[in-house]
Symmetry: C2
Subunit: 241 residues, 2 copies
């Protein structure tokens, strides 16, 4: 292990894409539900559009255009628009809530639970995602993610990449910024965390976007971040656990 | 299981006295430390005095006499007074911090980890103690407490028995108050939670105060609360898990 990592006391994780495979999980559940409902819809496209609504919805909050709204509710807002676009009608309130909460039921990547379990022996592990406490807690129950604590944007009413969100980790954990390592598959997230003094760990997730229109997976070279790993288990090994 | 408990989706726990045995843990660590330092002090009395400083310190915050201060820092303030009273001098800053954080290193009661593990299969489990996030997270690491999430007073800047603290559990977990059960060995805590619409589970902890001057353990009769249990395992069994 690199000597500068010896003082890391907490690893905090981006979650959607980094820890869980949101895309294939949402496509699968949407497909089953659509089949049961007899709907003929391209659920891959539907899922990608839902995900594409994520940043603009958060940006409305970040720019103060709408008051603080957590991710469960932003997911619901985007869903309502999609239901109109796809002319899906007649859903009950309960069905829509359950639908919006599909983001609480996403499968971990195959290496996530084992890698997190190893890291948990060495340091505090927490999500540092844009998902709210309820969403992240239920997601952890669903996938068996062994978090020690749930840090979330509804505690500080800021979304990443706002500084307040990164700095909330050392603040609530009573640590120095350099004792906290932000781990993510997304370079923008790690750069923003580094600007706040946190250590950084990159995890390569080549299948996050499935070749769809959302984006190309980020890559990193050794030395771009404090740790550059190809999986959660690789990250744990590089952290000496 | 009682039918009204079928909808409980989260159990939240008072921790000092209910989940962990603070008194014998602090006495033991203080004794070892004092021996190493060659100090001749009654550590049982010292520990009880430290604990007696807890409520007045929190009340200063609750009444607005001092700004928001978390429990780690209140413990440190009370420790400083005790060090003067006992004429313990010459401690380094690091020693005093480590000392104040003995409250992060308390042993669970023998049934706590197993009982919480069982409850975790059925519902979300979280502390709802007056300990801050960092204290509670480290305490869980120390004792192997398998919390799903850490709810804490520094999220809402209120101490129990303020309503804001009890209502923070359904708020952050996106549940109705009656879907959350407050579990504690202390009747005042359960009564305050019930006034906020939470379900209540009493756990009898006859040895919390060790016959010392702090108090007499609370007792409860069947029917006083939604669940009246003699241990964490009994509580889990009564919750059907």
């Amino acid at each position: 292990m690199k000597p500068e990592l010896a003082n890391v006391k907490a690893c905090v994780f981006d979650t959607f894409g980094t820890v869980v495979d949101w895309r294939s999980s949402v496509i699968a559940e949407a497909g089953s539900w659509g089949k049961a409902k007899g709907l003929n819809i391209d659920w891959v496209e539907f899922t990608d559009r839902w995900r594409l609504g994520y940043l603009p919805a958060m940006d409305q909050v970040r720019k103060g255009q709408i008051p603080w709204t957590n991710l469960d509710d932003l997911n619901r807002m985007t869903l309502e628009e999609l239901l109109k676009q796809y002319k899906i009608e007649g859903l009950s309130e309960e069905e829509k809530t359950n639908w919006a909460q599909v983001w609480r039921r996403l499968k971990p990547w195959p290496d996530s639970v084992e890698g997190l379990g190893r890291l948990k022996k060495k340091c505090i592990i927490s999500p540092l995602s844009n998902g709210n406490v309820a969403l992240m807690t239920n997601l952890a129950k669903f996938g068996g993610l062994p978090w020690d604590v749930i840090l979330a944007p509804d505690l500080v009413k800021h979304y990443k990449p706002d500084r307040e969100m990164y700095l909330s980790a050392p603040f609530y954990l009573d640590l120095k910024p350099e004792e906290v390592m932000m781990c993510a598959a997304h370079v923008f997230d790690l750069r923003a965390a580094r600007d706040c003094g946190l250590r950084t760990g990159f995890i390569y997730r080549p299948n996050e976007y499935g070749g769809g229109p959302i984006g190309v997976p980020d890559e990193a070279k050794p030395g771009d971040f404090d740790v550059v790993a190809v999986s959660m288990i690789d990250l744990a090994q590089q952290m000496g656990t």
